[in-house]
């Protein structure tokens, strides 16, 4: 063993006080006592790291295994075609409700998220302005989703009649009430409110993914497009977005998967419904909410239903992701 390693004088950094000063040769000194000891520590570290990866994977397999096992046992055709109050119980309304809510959320959330990503990459100047936008998106992504439910509840759902609407918030709520009445969105629990809450959750995720993917598009593409006489927006729409699309779609899928499993904000917005409805102006049911309600039940058949619902929910997310991935793979443009 080299002597400078053993007595800890080895200096790995090219410059003594450069950015590499964190390299502490002391670490070698502490551990490099003897060849055998070093080997024991080395091997046990490999074993510990491998074991922790195995632990993480085994948890995944345990969750998926139990979900498949219990879900398949209680899943049948009645589950997909019947309603919660029918005699063989089913969750047709919840499945349809989840699809409608996630569809509404995507329609609103995906474009706004992509616009934020586009702004960050194409239009924002490097400096504090783009930093602030990024911070705002990070904060929104880190906000507990319940709070977005509460926001939509206060702004779109709850009635303020009989209450004195004063001050800035009062004026704002009054304006929103008027707009809502004009558009025709009722002021009670509704699919619209649920969709809006989920859209707010989607936006930061989609924005982050779009930003990362748009940054990957080579500058040469943009320059080539500009050299051919395309304007900035034309370059964006015809060259940059198609190139980055498959990556952005992955981000969108992530957001959809995340939103499809959201439960807490829906308690305050779409609330749940045991009847069948396709109209977003009604209260809407969704699979996660139904899973929660039934899991708290003492009736065994309802608990069984919640297992089947969990399986259906996760399968829906998986199938949707797989289909979207296959569809976008064909349209991918090679970046080099």
């Amino acid at each position: 063993m080299p002597s400078d390693l053993a007595d800890g004088t080895a200096n790995l950094s090219p410059t003594p006080s450069g950015p590499n000063e964190f390299v502490q040769p002391v670490a070698f000194k502490a551990m490099g006592r003897s060849g055998l000891w070093r080997r024991i520590v080395n091997v046990s570290a490999v074993v510990v790291c491998t074991a922790s990866a195995a632990a993480a994977l085994s948890v995944l397999f345990l969750i998926f295994g139990y979900m498949l096992f219990e879900g398949v046992r209680y899943l049948n055709l009645d589950f997909l075609t019947h309603l919660p109050l029918d005699t063989p119980m089913g969750m047709r309304n919840s499945i349809v409700g989840t699809l409608i809510l996630v569809g509404l959320a995507s329609v609103a959330g995906v474009p706004i998220g992509m616009l934020c990503g586009i702004y960050l990459v194409e239009y924002a100047r490097k400096g504090w302005s783009s930093d602030i936008v990024r911070i705002v998106l990070d904060v929104l992504a880190g906000t507990p989703t319940v709070l977005l439910g509460v926001l939509v509840y206060t702004v779109m759902v709850v009635h303020h009649h009989g209450k004195q609407l004063t001050g800035f918030m009062g004026t704002f709520l009054d304006i929103v009430q008027h707009i809502q009445a004009w558009v025709g969105i009722p002021r009670h629990y509704s699919g619209w409110a649920g969709g809006v809450a989920l859209a707010f959750i989607m936006v930061p995720i989609v924005a982050r993914a779009s930003e990362e993917m748009l940054r990957l598009v080579p500058r040469a593409h943009r320059e080539a497009s500009a050299a051919l006489g395309a304007s900035k927006a034309e370059t964006l729409v015809r060259v940059v977005l198609p190139t980055a699309m498959s990556g952005i779609v992955t981000g969108i899928l992530l957001a959809v998967a995340r939103v499809a499993g959201e439960t807490a904000p829906l308690f305050f917005t779409s609330f749940g419904n045991t009847a069948m409805t396709y109209n977003p102006s009604d209260q809407m049911d969704s699979l996660p909410e139904r899973i929660y309600f039934y899991s708290q039940s003492s009736v065994p058949s309802q608990v069984h239903q919640s297992w089947a619902a969990a399986l259906v929910l996760v399968s829906l997310i998986t199938i949707f992701s797989a289909v979207m991935r296959i569809v976008t793979r064909k349209r991918r443009i090679r970046t080099h």
């Binding site: 934020c116 929104l140 319940v146 918030m169 924005a207």
Partner: protein, 349 residues
């Protein structure tokens, strides 16, 4: 000069009308992008305004006593609001989750980056990230019906048999009880007081640990990948073993790993459904890991729609405001740390 603008005096190879249309298209896209960003600014401001507006009455009337009392008594006429028990539940479960998840995440990330062969690291990384795609309510279902009974029968029973005679400190009365509401309940500093229950702080912490594992692993992996090859080769050249080099890498990336843990913490604080399904939902505080508890998000989801009186509703909004501020602080701190690793790497190029 920005890309796409023509130099002065150049003649464009198309007619004037088309050029105007292009200009309009250009400006529309730019305007849309900016309005999307402005909408997000508005959304964040709106969350703050709505929560502040809602919580104002409680902010004035309950003030900071909100955080020093553990008595939650929303009955009409009593109206005593103290969230110490819920804040304690959030803090304790988050702490347990980090204690369990951070070492496992670092181990997994090291396995993915530095141990696994190329054909294995991709799938392992994908599978761990798959954990993040499972909805939290499914975690809750699994936790309530599979994990809790197992936890009660095996680990908690063993822990109880091992630790139930060890009292760390004997405290007096229930902390946070006020002279007006003296609670004749002891606070024994015994980690397993009450016996195995399965729906307790430990179960909440464990389910949170599983939920924040993928996010901490993913970021730690990304940060470890930024460890420069030059330092790695230098370490090997000096005779360092694999583990010593890895330890250098972990040390090099410690700020980023700390940031990853903070992001996991933010996630754990905001987590709602899984935890209310396993933690037992009792408005109490206990030193025992085997006692049922409640978190801030839990009390919020359970009681928000029942808050029928202005002061009760306002107290619920106060809880929401607390959640927002704590999530905001942890998220910002985490991002700051994770970005620092990136800029340091960039400055060395």
């Amino acid at each position: 000069m920005s890309i796409g603008s023509l130099p002065p005096g150049a003649t464009a190879p198309f007619n004037r009308r088309r050029r105007i249309l292009r200009e309009i298209f250009d400006r529309t896209v730019a305007g849309l992008a900016i309005s999307g960003v402005l909408a997000m600014f508005g959304l964040l401001a709106l969350i703050f305004l709505v929560l502040l507006d809602g919580a104002w009455m409680a902010l004035v009337k309950v003030n900071w006593h909100f955080f020093t009392s553990s008595v939650w008594d929303p009955v009409k006429g009593h109206d005593h609001y103290g969230v110490l028990a819920f804040a304690y539940g959030t803090a304790l479960t988050t702490f347990i989750a980090l204690l369990l998840a951070v070492p496992v995440s670092i181990g997994t990330a090291v396995f993915i980056v530095r141990i696994a062969p190329r054909w294995l690291s991709g799938p392992v990384s994908f599978l761990v990230e798959l954990l993040a795609a499972i909805p939290s309510v499914v975690y809750g279902l699994w936790g309530a019906f599979i994990m809790s009974p197992w936890l009660q029968n095996y680990p908690e029973t063993w822990l109880y048999n091992a630790l139930h005679n060890i009292h760390l400190i004997k405290l007096g009365y229930y902390p946070g009880s006020t002279p007006k509401y003296p609670l004749p309940e002891y606070f024994p500093a015994n980690l397993v007081h009450g016996g195995p229950s399965g729906t307790d702080y430990l179960a909440g912490g464990l389910i949170l640990a599983i939920m924040i594992l993928p996010i901490i692993t993913a970021i730690t992996r990304d940060v470890l990948l930024q460890f420069p090859d030059s330092i790695e080769h230098g370490a090997y050249a000096l005779g360092a073993t694999w583990w010593q080099t890895t330890w250098l890498a972990i040390n090099y990336c410690r700020v980023g790993i700390f940031g990853a843990a903070m992001l996991g913490m933010a996630r754990a604080i905001g987590e709602t459904m899984a935890i209310i399904m396993v933690i037992g939902n009792t408005d109490r505080i206990s030193s025992s890991l085997f006692a049922g508890g409640q978190t801030l998000t839990g009390v919020f989801v359970n009681e928000f729609l029942e808050a029928d009186r202005p002061i009760y509703f306002s107290a619920m909004m106060y809880v929401a405001l607390t959640l927002l501020v704590s999530a905001l602080v942890t998220t910002l701190a985490a991002r700051f740390m994770i970005n620092r690793i990136g800029t340091r790497h960039a400055s060395e190029e």
